[in-house]
Symmetry: D2
Subunit: 358 residues, 4 copies
């Protein structure tokens, strides 16, 4: 049993911030202590500052918390700070918090490519925590550190890829096509006139993120544990689209392995089904029962039916079949604001607690 940690949430009024609040409202490790948002919201109660868009109500003890500005001096009592800030402000604010020796879990893209900051999917590469001693040294910190989440679509993709890589060796080519939910664009986000009876075949910057991030997450730490060895042999081609779905990103994936012959479909199913992660071994509260759920019906996974399984912390995988062009292909589903955003941060933090880093 761990004693309770005080947490702060930056960007608390946004869609990711709202998910943080629901995930942390009754958490065995964490207590919501401080909420931060833009100067427009600071000074108001949370209830008046936010446009709440969740189907569960605001937890009653959070409604009356007064929102603070996003400066570290207001959060210095916090053992952990979760950030759901947008990229246009996250860069400066998160760095100011880090330099104040705070522990920061970021959902923004700004530090994902930083050479000493892990890009972490909790059920994939928790071992990247081993760089934290070097990160602290690099920034002159005693207890603070920073962990970034991956992009929501990348997050869903790397979970089965990690299982496949562990079992069948390195992959040479990956073609991935996403159908992403509107909640991924925040609020107000996607105008309804753009998405009703429509699909938008483009999300700015998304394909580049996916094509880069896979290589950092699935790569290892350097031998001296002071840097990341990005995958060199794996090339990713991503196409990202927006569909009229509330939550849940669906992805169609084709994979080619470096070494042949390609595995049988039964072997692939078996490997995916048996995959487990350190988060589970550490008995983290938000760890999914298993990181990958296999859906065997021909028309699954589907966003509306499968996104809430295992509290949105697992990735559903189905339709595993041979790919005539690469080796195998399959369909996956990830809940974009749970495992794909706030849920990853919270589980990453639970792992850090279990490892004694917080």
């Amino acid at each position: 049993m761990v004693s309770t940690k005080k947490v702060g949430i930056l960007g608390a009024t946004g869609t990711v911030g709202q998910r943080f609040i629901l995930l942390l409202a009754n958490h065995p490790y964490f207590t919501i202590h401080a909420l931060g948002a833009s100067s427009r919201s600071a000074g108001k109660t949370y209830k008046t500052a936010t446009k709440w868009k969740q189907s569960q109500p605001i937890p009653s003890h959070v409604e009356q918390l007064v929102v603070k500005p996003c400066v570290s001096s207001e959060f210095k009592e916090c053992d952990v700070v979760f950030s759901g800030l947008d990229a246009d402000v996250a860069g400066d604010i998160e760095m100011e918090f880090l330099k104040a020796d705070l522990v920061v879990f970021s959902n923004a893209k700004n530090y994902r490519r930083d050479p000493v900051v892990p890009l972490m999917v909790p059920t994939v590469n928790a071992q990247h925590y081993d760089i934290i001693p070097h990160q602290r040294q690099h920034y002159g910190l005693k207890k603070g550190f920073m962990i970034t989440n991956a992009n929501c679509s990348t997050t869903g993709l790397v979970v089965p890829l990690k299982a496949l890589q562990d079992a069948f060796g390195p992959m040479s080519h990956i073609v991935v096509h996403t159908q992403q939910a509107i909640s991924g664009a925040g609020y107000p986000g996607v105008p309804s006139l753009d998405i009703l009876d429509n699909v938008v075949p483009y999300i700015s910057g998304e394909e580049e993120k996916m094509e880069y991030e896979v290589g950092k997450i699935l790569g290892g730490l350097s031998k001296d544990q002071q840097g990341f060895d990005l995958l060199k042999e794996t090339v990713v081609s991503a196409t990202c689209t927006r569909v009229p779905v509330l939550d849940g990103h669906l992805e169609s994936v084709s994979v080619k392995f470096v070494n042949g012959p390609p595995p049988s479909m039964d072997a692939v199913y078996d490997v995916l089904e048996r995959y487990s992660s350190e988060a589970d071994a550490l008995q983290c509260p938000l760890a999914p029962q298993s990181p990958i759920i296999i859906t065997k019906e021909a028309d699954r996974p589907q966003p509306r039916l499968d996104r809430e399984l295992h509290r949105g912390q697992a990735v559903s995988v189905g339709r595993v079949r041979p790919c005539p062009v690469l080796d195998i292909k399959f369909t996956l589903l990830v809940h974009n604001t749970l495992l794909g955003a706030a849920g990853s941060s919270v589980l990453n933090a639970e792992i850090a607690v279990a490892k004694g880093l917080i």
Copy 2:
């Protein structure tokens, strides 16, 4: 100027049949003469037999036509018969019509793989009409023949592929991902509980159709004009999904050419933009101004905004860019019940009239 031909429509009460009626109601070559549907509808007026789901009203002179059973004796005065019948009944009925020496344009899958029946997309392979003398001989016909449409998703795909193949030579690999409209499943078709706030990552039989049909359409006729030379060097990997869109299939395509180096993006855009087809040269009424429309905005083509362009007879292509895994990738949009179904049949028939085959 051509004199007016009498046409019959089979499956007239279905979604494809309704499109046929709108396309043919004021056609310069054709006059609607007879409507056929199942025994449940036969004997009723069209207005009472159909559940009309189009946003234009039933043409007034069609409302009171009495629906006939689908037997050739009822259609023997027709110069052309368009069939929107479902595959489960199309096999027997269409063959009975053909053997009665009628001209049949089919939307069903049943005869697409027949060795003497063309699988024709009007802006792609109208030259396959050259097999008709042999087809007539094979079936012992004087004036009848049969042409099949391609699957709606295949139809959209082969238009730009044909342009690319003509310009840059044979393709070795194609990876295609579709997001298909609900009208493709007919009426009642997709239950709303399955598709609202959802995507269904599977359409029965669709991927197999696409993977086969490309090779027949883009292949040539044998030298003796008695058969089809299917493409051997081109492998297709298709993934087909259903999205909450009324009309318009969106497809994400990656292509690798047999011969390197890959063309520049400018060269690709240029080739697509300049592509023209025989249907245009023959001044067919329903031929699109150009078979391919280039959309240059980053987030286009989109189903709701682009599906009606050129009366739904062109394919919109955008987002042409290098593919890290294959050579190039792009996005296309095809109107699935116009060019992708009824519109192809009517344009195929117009070409046949222009060629003197009807």
Copy 3:
């Protein structure tokens, strides 16, 4: 504490049946003992017989239950039978179960107008249970009886009306307009081509049901407790429409009271907020914390945001304001497959257990 009762579910593979299974899978009073469905499903395991459309998975102990035909001999060990059967078969089957001395909770319309069968909304008229002795006598039963649910839209309407009637006396006129979710039509139910980018301003038979049912539910029992005194002074005008919403019926209501002057809006809010029901007093497990939730924001209640509150067993009411034509008007939301269907039946059964009737 009550001992566990064995329950059967008829129409177990349908949408209402699926909700019954989720509500009863871990219920403190009830254990799922037998599942019944059509002869097409009988003999199969539940998992293979059903097209499961819920976002929670099938409870594992239910998956392998073998579906039975809907005959009472297969359910004679059941203490309670919940029926989600469609009206076209419910008439005969439910009567056969009742005559076999079983306890039947029906969701169909067939016996709602029966002079000895209660039409019961659990948070409104549980006192109608007082007719059960007479009903048993009428049908010659020892322990069996039948209770019917109201139509889903009626159910939402009568909860606030009951609160208003109790406080301000009888109502003379009610105008109600519904916007009903697609799940109310079952599966496959509403074709997506009918409802995407659309509203259907008609639901067969629905307006008649609402206009009748209000009078039976809000009326009392006759003095001898052998019949129902339908409201005579209250006239209802209903307009029912179908909207592209998955779950949750929204209703706009105008009310005129027999006696003036009309109450103030504050008085109305106060009465709605303080309303409580016998189900709560009896501490039934599925009773909502309060039968009515007041939403004070100008744009609430909304289906997506409010339907799950209090596990879908409460009615949300907002926008209370004067009506220029009648006296007051307001907006309400009811979860159509929870309180509006399966949830009412289960709560009705909990009340029966608490009253010692089962």
Copy 4:
């Protein structure tokens, strides 16, 4: 035959402005001469300044027009100015144009209640043009004048009400419930997270507009033709909601007449069907064939199927039936950006041309 008038369009980049452009691009009376928008757009070509959201492309001769700021000096060559400006800027700009002696057709609410400005629905109250001499005198104008459109939902409502009032005398009570399309809120307008799988039971200010505007439109001019006699005997109660529909407002209406007994349903249908308007008599190009279309199927009118009929300039009416509370009830559909906005303005202008006012 009339000679061509030069027209200007204010708010040309918005949703209503885009509809103006499509309606005026090939108009027999009018030529698009100048486009006005906010300072952010002024100086750019129309193509770069606008986010075009229509399913027809921008007319080619409009693409390269340079957008001007909304000041009258830039529009002094225009014979007519159509304004699609938002209410927050329309007040000052439209008055500045009027005082510069220009002819202004406004879609904003700002001058709808002005005592000398008509609130005009072209197929209802074109006789209100008789106040123009007084309006010109009031503002000291020679050729300029101002006409306002009604709110989109009011527009749909008053067309059948006018027919009923003409035939059956004054109405005492009207209860109306709207289900309004998202295009009514402009672009970006309604966030998709607010409306997918949802209905919003509130539109700010909309109910008040409807309850007021009916009385001005259906009232007459004062005897001296210097003011409007608002209806005194008619009370309107409106409830307005937003639904996930692209175009087309659906309204459920109940009406009580001052004089009894209520007309038969056949009489109502007959009156609605035979209703005609001055716009038709004047042979205006955009006048609908008939102002009211009767839909006789039980489940019509529907937005997706009926909104485009008569080019969106008619109102579809169906489901006429007795109302248990008032006298009769029915359902109507109006295209909110055609007859409900830009289409009314253009038809109003056509009438002015026919009357010699322009």
